[in-house]
Amino acid sequence: MSILSARSLSVRFETPRGTLQAVNDVSLDVNERETVGLVGESGCGKSTLGKALMRLVPAAEGRIFVSGQDITRLGSKAIAAIRSDVQMIFQDPYGSLNPRHTVGKIIGQPLSVAGWKRADIKARVCELVDKVGLPQAALDRFPHEFSGGQRQRIGIARALALNPKVVICDEPVSALDVSVRAQVINLMKDLQAETGVSFLFISHDLSVVEHISDRLLVMYLGRVVESGKAADIWPAPAHPYTAALLAAAPVANPKLARSRTRKTLQGELPSPLNPPQGCAFHTRCPIAQARCHEERPLLRSIEGHAGRQVACHFDLVTHQKTPDLAATETSYVSA
Amino acid sequence: MRRILLRRFAQIIPLILGVIVLNFALIQMSPGSFLDVMTAEQQVSDPAMIERMRVLYGMDKPVVVQLLKYIWSVMTLDFGYSYRQNETVLAVIGQALPATVILMLASIAIALLIGVLAGVIAAVKVNTIWDNLISVGAVFFFAAPTFWLGIMLMIVFSVRLGWLPVGGMRDIGVDHGVFGDALDVMRHLALPALSLGLFYAAMYTRVMRASMLEVFRHDFVRTARAKGLSGAQVVLRHVFRNALLPVVTLLGLQLGTVLGGSVVIETVFSWPGIGSLMLDSVMSRNYPVVLGVLVLSSLIVAVANALVDIAYFRLDPRIRAR
C-alpha cells in the first residue's frame, strides 16, 4: 500500500498577472521503502507539489492520502496527527534552519510541537544527532556555525525526529558542493536502509536522481509527462522532454562527452502563466506534429511496459521514432 | 500603471473618512471648545450672545450630527466655514497654501540637490576624508533641531550681516515688478528654506550614500567594470539610477508631509503658511480648518504616492512589468 499518494492534485496561485497553475492534475504514489524521484526544470512545480502534499499550500483540486487516509480537508488539529508520518527536508540548507535557535532546539521542535516531554525530547535529539553523524557538541551551537552539508544533516535529523513514514526531500543537495553532496546522499540511503523510510526526492540534477531513485516522475509545466521505474526510463525515455533532459545532462567523462553528438533543445521555457495550447512541450519538441499544437496528450500507460506512463501522442517507446535524441541516450547509458 | 493610479485614488476615500473621524473624535475629546475660545477671545459675557454664537457655529447639534454633516459637506466639496477667520475654510487654506508650498518645494529642491550630490560623493569616496566630512555634516544637521538652526541662521545672516530679511514672505508695500517680486520672495525664502532644506538634505545624503553603497555591491556593477567602463561611467550610468529609488521613496514621504513639515520653521520666520494656520487652529479648536487641512493633506499624500509610483515606474522597468 502506498504511504503517500495524490490523486488529480492541482494547485493554483493568484498572481497580479493572472492565475498561475503551478501543479496540474498530478497523481502519484510513494510506497514503503521506496524512493520516488521527481525531476523537471526550474519552475515546473516540483516544490509546489511537495508543499501541497505537506499541505503547506492549499490544493485547488484533488486529494491527498497518507496511509490511505484522506488528509485533503483535515482541520489543523487532525492534521497534527498526520504530521509525524510525512515530513519534509528543504531545498536551502541555509534558509531552512532558524538562525536564532540552537541546533538542539531546532531538532527538538517537531517533538515539542507533538507534545513530547522535555526529557524525552532530549534523549531523542541526542539519538538523532548521532544518527545523522553530527557530534553531540553540535546541539548547543547555532546553524551559522555549520557547513552546508552539516546543516542539511540537521534538517534531516529534524525531518526524521518523529519517525515519519515518508519524507519529501525538496532538492536537498542542490545547494551543496560535490563532495558534501555525496555525504548527504549516502546518509539518506543509509537511513532508508535502516528505518525503511520512503523518500519523494525532488531534484533537477539527473545524475543524483538516477543514483537514488527507484521510480521516477518527470514534470513539465505543472504536469507529469512521464513516470515509471527509473531503470526503465533511463535507457529508453518515452517522452521527448525526458530524452532531452537526459541528453542535456553533462557527463563527467570526457571521452564519452566527445563521442556523443548532443542535440540541445532549442527555445525557451514557456511562461507557466500562459502555457501553450495543446501539448505544453510542443514549442520546444523536436518531433512535434500538427496534432501536438492542438490536442493535449493525456497521461497514458505504455502498452507492453508495465508501470510506465507517458503523456505524448508520439512517445519514443511505442512509436520507435528514434531520432538522434533517443539514439544518443542509449549509447550514453550503455557506456 | 493606470491601474496602480486608479487604485491609489480609490484608496483615498476611506483614508479621508478615517482622517475625519479620527480627528473629529480627537477634537471632541478636548477640553475647551471652539465656542469657549471664541467667547473668551471676544470677551462675550452675555449668555444670550453666547447662545447666539453656539447656534451660529452649529454646536447646538449632537456631535454625531455635526460629524455626519461635516462628512456630507466634504463629499460635496464644501469644507465648511471658519468663524474664526470669518471666511470659508477653503479660502482660509487657500491663502496660506501658496506660501507653504513654495517653502516646501524650495527646501525639497535644496535638500535634493545637496543631499543627492553629497551622498554620491560620500559613497564614491567611501572611507576617505570626504566621506567622513560629509557623513559628520549629515549627522550634525540631522541632529540639530530645525528651529535652533533657523534662529542661528537668522542671527548670522539677517541680524549680524544684514543680507537677508528676518521673516515674512516679501517686502511690504514695495512694488518690484514681476521679476523683482519673485526675487524678493526668493530673498525671504532663502533662510527658512535653507533651515528646513539642510535637515532634509542630511536625510537624503544618508539615504543616497547607503543606497549607492548597496548598489555598488551588486554584480552588475562588476559586470560594468569588466566591460572596461571608466569609474565615472560606472557610477553615472549604472549605479546612480539604481540608487535613486530609495531617494524617491523618501521624496514621496516628504511630499506627503508638506503641510505639516514646516510648522516650526514657519513660526520662527513668520512665514505665512499652513503651519502657522494649523497651530492657531489647533490652539483655538477651530476644527473646520484643522479638518480641512488634514483632508487636504491626505489628498496631497495620495498625490505624492501616485507621483512616487510614476517615478518608480519611470526609473525601474521591473515595476513597469506589473
Binding site: - | 478636548s30 477640553p31 475647551g32 471648545s33 465656542l35 469657549d36 475660545v37 467667547t39 473668551a40 477671545e41 471676544q42 470677551q43 462675550v44 459675557s45 452675555d46 449668555p47 444670550a48 450672545m49 453666547i50 447666539r52 454664537m53 451660529l56 466655514y81 468663524y83 474664526r84 477667520q85 470669518n86 471666511e87 482660509v92 491663502q95 496660506a96 506660501a99 534662529i151 537668522m154 542671527i155 539677517s158 541680524v159 544684514g162 530679511p165 528676518v166 521673516g167 515674512g168 514672505m169 511690504i172 508695500g173 513660526t267 520662527v268 520666520f269 513668520s270 512665514w271 505665512p272 503658511g273 502657522s276 494656520l277 492657531d280 490652539m283 483655538s284 479648536r285
Partner: protein, 509 residues
C-alpha cells in the same frame, strides 16, 4: 514721544507690530482682544478719545453732554465725515451702533442701562437710560474698546459676527485697508478724505506679525520694523536696543488699558473659600521677585486689585500683605491648617498659559506655596484649556490669569466680584464665585452715582473690600512697553496708544 516742537513731516511707510499674534479678523465685533483691536482702531473710529492726562478729546463727536438728570445724553457729531466707501457719516450710524452693536454685542454689562437712541437731526443723537449714568462712565465707554463706530449701511440687517466687512473693515478713520495677507501683514494707506485734513502724516501703515519675540527684535535691528506695542520684544533686548541709540522705549500710552497679573481664589472650594487662608497665602508670595525677575523689572508689585496707573481711582490705602513666610505659616496655623508632616493641604493651581510670564509665575508660585507647606498641583494649559478650566468649569483652587481694563472701574474691573459677573463660560468675569449683596450694591452705586467725588470714595471702598475679602487681586501691575525707532515721532500720546488711530504719528526721515 517727545519732539512736539518739530514740525511733522509727511510721507513714508510706518511698519508696526505688537507683542502678540495675528488677529483672526481685522475687526472682531464683540471685541476679540488686543490683536483685532490694534488693527480695527486704525480704520474705525470712536466718538471720543482719552488723552494721557485723562481728558476726553473729540473725535467723531464734538460734544457729549448729559441732561440735568443724567438719564440722557446728547451727542453732537462732527460734520463732513465720510466713510471710506464715500458714504456720509450721520446720526443714523450712531443710533444703529448704540442699539444694534454696542449694547447687545460689544459693551456687555456697561450699557445695560441704555434704553434708547434717536437721531435728533443728522448730526445729533440722543441716548436715553433707565438710571442715572455718570458722565465719566459714559464717555469712557464711548472712548473705550466697545465704542467703535461701524457703518450702518454695511451691517444693518446682516449677521454681525460673520459680516465680510469684519475682515476688511470700512470706517471713517485715517487708514484704509489695502491688502491683508493672512499670516503676514496688513497694508493700509492713508485715507485722502479724512476729516482731519492733512492727517495722517505717513502715507502707509503696515502692521506685521511675528509669532516669535526674538524675530521681532531681529526685525527691529534689521531695520524692518519701526514701532512695536505691548512688549514686542524680550525684555533684555529692550535695553540692548536702546543702548544703540537707534531705538527708544516707553511705558506711556497704556493708561487706559492697564494690565495686571491676577491671582484668583476659588470660593467654591473648601480650602480657598476660607478668607483667612487666602490672606495667609498672600503673605507667602514675593511680589518684588515676580516684578524683578519674572517681568525683568517691567512690572510693579501690586498693592491691590486696581493698577496704580489708574490716576483717577487707584488707592494704596488698602489691606497689605507683605511677603513674610513665617507670618503666612502662622496665619495658616491659625486658620486651622497646621502642618501635617510636611504639608498642610493640597491645592490645584492653574496658570493660564497665554503669556510666557504666566508659565514662570505658575512655577514660582508653586515653589512659594510649597515653602509654607502647601502642596501644589500645577497646570499650565494652553489658551483654550485655560479658559475652559478657569472661566468655564471653575476647575481650580487658585488661578493665575491676566486682566486688562480701562480707567473706569465699571464694569471691567467690578465684574470680577459682582454677582452679575458670574456667567459660566464667559471669560474674564467673576470665576471665583464671590457673591455679596453689599458688594453688589456698592458697585451699583458706583455705576449710577453721578458725583465724581462720591464715585472716588466708592471706588476706594470697593478696593478696600476686595483687598480684605481677596476673591481676586493683582500680583503685579504689568508695565506695557512700546519700542520704536528714534525717528518715529509723536507716538504714545494717548491713554490707549495701541488702540488709537495713529494719524498724528510721523516719521522723521
Amino acid at each position: 514721544q517727545g519732539a512736539a516742537t518739530a514740525t511733522p513731516k509727511r510721507g513714508g511707510t510706518l511698519t508696526a507690530t505688537w507683542g502678540g499674534f495675528e488677529p483672526q479678523a481685522l475687526f472682531v465685533p464683540p471685541g476679540g482682544g488686543s490683536s483685532p483691536y490694534f488693527t480695527s482702531t486704525k480704520v474705525l473710529e470712536r466718538l471720543l478719545r482719552l488723552d494721557t492726562s485723562l481728558n476726553f478729546q473729540p473725535v467723531l463727536a464734538t460734544e457729549v453732554t448729559p441732561a440735568a438728570d443724567f438719564k440722557s445724553y446728547t451727542i453732537k457729531l462732527r460734520p463732513n465725515v465720510t466713510w471710506h466707501d464715500g458714504k456720509p457719516f450721520t446720526a443714523d450710524d450712531v443710533v444703529y451702533n448704540a442699539l444694534s452693536y454696542w449694547k447687545p454685542v460689544s459693551a456687555g454689562l456697561a450699557l445695560k442701562a441704555l434704553t434708547g437712541a434717536e437721531a435728533v437731526d443728522p448730526l445729533t443723537v440722543k441716548l436715553t437710560f433707565n438710571t442715572t449714568v455718570p458722565e465719566f462712565f459714559l464717555k469712557s465707554v464711548l472712548a473705550g474698546k466697545a465704542g467703535l463706530v461701524i457703518p450702518k449701511h454695511l451691517y444693518d440687517g446682516k449677521e454681525l459676527l460673520t459680516n465680510p466687512a469684519n475682515n476688511l473693515p470700512v470706517g471713517t478713520g485715517p487708514w484704509k485697508v489695502k491688502e491683508w495677507v493672512r499670516g503676514s501683514h496688513v497694508e493700509m494707506e492713508r485715507f485722502d478724505k479724512y476729516w482731519d485734513a492733512g492727517k495722517p502724516y505717513a502715507d502707509r501703515l503696515v502692521i506685521r506679525w511675528w509669532r516669535d519675540p526674538a524675530s521681532r527684535s531681529a526685525a527691529f535691528e534689521a531695520g524692518q520694523l519701526d514701532i512695536g506695542c505691548f512688549n514686542p520684544i524680550p525684555a533684555p533686548d529692550i535695553k540692548r536696543l536702546e543702548a544703540t541709540k537707534k531705538f527708544v522705549s516707553t511705558t506711556k500710552g497704556y493708561e487706559n488699558s492697564a494690565w495686571i497679573a491676577s491671582i484668583e481664589f476659588n470660593g467654591r472650594r473648601d480650602i480657598t473659600k476660607n478668607v483667612a487662608v487666602r490672606q495667609a497665602l498672600m503673605h507667602a508670595i514675593d511680589r518684588e521677585f515676580i516684578a524683578d525677575t519674572i517681568y525683568f523689572g517691567l512690572a510693579k508689585p501690586a498693592t491691590g486689585f486696581i493698577p496704580s496707573s489708574n490716576a483717577l481711582f487707584y488707592t494704596k490705602d488698602v489691606e497689605q500683605y507683605p511677603f513674610d513666610v513665617e507670618l503666612a505659616a502662622k496665619k495658616l496655623d491659625a486658620a486651622g491648617y497646621p502642618l501635617k508632616g510636611k504639608t498642610r493641604f493640597k491645592i490645584s493651581l492653574v496658570a493660564a498659559g497665554w503669556f510666557e510670564e504666566n508659565v514662570k509665575l505658575g512655577q514660582y508660585l508653586k515653589q512659594a506655596l510649597e515653602d509654607v507647606g502647601v502642596e501644589v498641583d500645577l497646570a499650565i494649559p494652553d489658551r483654550a484649556t485655560s479658559l475652559k478650566r478657569i472661566y468655564g468649569d471653575y476647575d481650580y483652587d487658585i488661578a493665575i490669569s491676566n486682566n486688562s481694563g480701562p480707567v473706569e472701574l465699571v464694569p471691567y474691573w467690578t465684574q470680577f466680584v459682582t454677582t452679575d459677573g458670574i456667567v459660566k463660560g464667559a471669560a474674564f468675569r467673576n470665576a471665583n464665585g464671590f457673591s455679596d449683596p453689599k458688594m453688589d450694591t456698592l458697585v451699583e452705586n458706583l455705576a449710577t452715582n453721578t458725583d465724581p467725588a462720591k464715585r472716588k470714595a466708592l471706588a476706594v471702598e470697593f478696593q478696600q473690600t476686595v483687598a480684605k475679602q481677596l476673591p481676586i487681586t493683582a500680583l503685579v501691575d504689568i508695565n506695557s512697553v512700546t519700542v520704536a525707532r528714534s525717528d518715529v515721532r509723536d507716538h504714545s500720546q494717548d491713554a490707549d496708544f495701541m488702540g488709537e488711530s495713529w494719524s498724528r504719528v510721523w516719521l522723521d526721515r
